[in-house]
């Protein structure tokens, strides 16, 4: 018997994502992004994102169905991001998902965006070994998770105490007069720089927790820029970018590998928008190889926000036999990672 066909809908930030997944197979995946509308503001404007979600919603569903070569009548269940995310943005996806589920007479599952970022790896690398450690790094999140079971057993080991890693990239890019979003231009500039030219602090380094902090690092970069300015010294963007990036990925990979070792876990998944970063991938590969850990990083398209991650988690939740969400499902802007399914 073939596995159920899951329609996944994601609208937690600035990407309207819709995908169709059967088991670990991605059949169709469409994303409409409003990122171009946020560039001039230097960050995501919630009202702009929410307006864009409403306009993109049904056309994105249509594109995903066409790509998968299926119709809505073929769908067995609807999964949607219930949180965490921007309130107004989440509400567009949840409202549409409820209407699709009700009109199709199929169950609705409100699922967790963060766990979706881990589940998506199954579409590329097959079933996730149990347990695994997952490092989620994006513009909104920096979390280290112990994943015993995607549908029922995700434990948060640590989180950022201030800025998310991607947020730090955006803020530092602004300091360096590089464009938004800051990840790609800093990564590109860093390729030409010397990461040892400046020593920036490592937030919460060796503090015995799996938490992260990037606010102090951002301030250190700002001070460096101001000092150079005061002294009339030209600023070497490539070196600053390389040293900043080195500080970020050093802490991220060290804590992720430490978590694997402490918990006796042989598999590390890195996902989220920042997982596309070349320095993060390179250092994670090196440190995982040294520690005998299998590193799994989904392709960049799957690392950023999309419907595939939500459909992939929906497939796990259905397989685990969890009860569907009711039609009065509420969005939860701070849904904890320990709740893969919102009720």
């Amino acid at each position: 018997m073939s596995e159920p066909l899951i329609l996944g809908i994601e609208t937690s930030c600035d990407e309207t994502g819709v995908a169709l997944v059967r088991g670990c197979e991605l059949l169709g995946d469409s994303v409409a992004s409003s990122v171009d509308q946020h560039v001039r503001f230097g960050g995501v404007v919630p009202e702009v994102a929410s307006r864009a979600h409403l306009e993109a919603m049904t056309p994105t569903v249509r594109r995903a169905l066409d790509q998968a070569g299926v119709t809505l009548a073929d769908v067995d269940a609807v999964a949607v991001t219930a949180g965490p995310g921007l309130a107004g943005a989440l509400l567009v996806g949840v409202s549409a998902a409820k209407a699709y589920a009700m009109a199709l007479g199929k169950p609705l599952y409100g699922v967790n965006h963060l766990v979706g970022h881990v589940a998506v790896d199954q579409l590329e690398h097959g079933p996730l070994p149990k347990p695994s450690i997952a490092l989620l790094v994006s513009g909104g999140h920096t979390s280290l998770l112990l994943v015993n079971d995607l549908a029922t057993g995700v434990v948060s080991l640590g989180d950022t105490v201030d800025d998310a890693a991607g947020e730090a990239y955006d803020k530092v890019a602004r300091l360096l007069e590089l464009p938004y979003p800051g990840g790609p231009p800093i990564d590109a500039a860093a390729q030409r720089g010397d990461s040892k030219a400046i020593r920036f602090p490592r937030g919460k380094w060796g503090d015995g927790t799996y938490d992260f902090s990037f606010s102090g690092l951002k301030t250190a970069v700002a001070r460096h820029v101001e000092d150079a300015e005061r002294q009339g010294v030209p600023l070497v963007v490539a070196d600053i970018a390389a040293a900043f990036q080195e500080s970020v990925v050093d802490v991220l990979t060290r804590k992720a590998v430490d978590a694997c070792v402490e918990h006796g876990v042989r598999t590390l998944v890195i996902s989220g928008g920042v997982a596309a970063n070349s320095a993060l991938r390179a250092l994670a590969e090196q440190r995982c190889a040294e520690a005998g850990i299998e590193l799994r990083v989904p392709r960049p398209r799957l690392c950023t926000d999309n419907g595939a991650m939500i459909a992939a988690l929906g497939a796990e939740v259905v397989k685990a036999g969890l009860p569907p969400s009711s039609l009065d499902l509420a969005t939860d802007t701070s849904l904890p990672v320990g709740s893969p399914l919102a009720m």
Partner: protein, 223 residues
């Protein structure tokens, strides 16, 4: 002709199923409303489910959907529009837009001029002038109540009620839109062969967002 109407552009979540026969005679099959400005997303689909149970109808029997396009507070407004568009997409039937103030005005059955007003937050109201319950004169606008020339006309809606002091006029019923009236209005227009507008939100304001100032140009960069 069976039509499902709903509106989430005010603190009310209101939904109704209406029907017209071949002669255009209207019958209300079911309706329900509740007032909770913070729970539109939770309340709308269960309310519609309740209408279906009450009327013994199924979504598959519907011919049209009509949804309030506002104006109204944006987060709630989008709940109705996202729901209406998705229903229409899944059911393969048209989804039409109805201006929320027009539904409010239609429910008054008034034959003389009046103004309709709903709360726009930030000390402003969304408003429009009507010659009678079916005829709006001009575009819907957003203004501070004190800046509106009311022409001493009767004022209806919760916007008028909230600012009765400033407007020097007691607001008349109804205060909030009712989807039963919205269904009747939409079916009347369809029966007359009028083209109903697309379900596109009436925001009337641009998003609140400030562009960051230009970066200082005093730095010397080596790029």
């Amino acid at each position: 002709m069976l039509l499902l109407a709903f509106d989430t552009a005010t603190p009310a979540v209101t939904a109704a199923i209406g029907e017209t026969d071949a002669d255009g005679a209207f019958a209300l099959r079911a309706s329900a409303s509740s007032v909770d400005a913070r729970r539109h997303g939770e309340l709308l689909t269960p309310t519609i489910q309740g209408l279906l149970t009450e009327s013994g109808l199924t979504l598959a029997e519907l011919d049209h959907i009509a949804v309030g396009v506002g104006p109204g507070p944006y987060t709630g407004l989008r709940v109705g529009l996202a729901t209406g568009r998705a229903f229409a997409d899944a059911l393969g039937i048209p989804c039409h837009g109805v201006v929320t103030l027009d539904a409010l005005a239609f429910a008054t059955k008034r034959t003389e001029p009046f103004l309709g007003m709903t709360d726009a937050r930030r000390k402003e109201v969304f408003w429009a002038r009507y010659d009678d319950h079916l005829t709006r004169t001009g575009e819907v606008q957003v203004d501070r109540p004190a800046e509106i020339d009311t022409e001493d006309l009767p004022l209806i809606g919760d916007g008028a009620r909230m600012y009765a002091d400033v407007l020097n006029t007691q607001a008349q019923e109804p205060h909030l839109p009712d989807a039963g009236a919205m269904a009747e209005l939409a079916l009347l227009r369809l029966h007359r062969g009028e083209e109903l507008p697309e379900p596109v939100p009436l925001y009337l304001r641009r998003p609140d967002a400030v562009e960051p100032g230009a970066p200082k140009k005093v730095r010397q960069w080596v790029k």
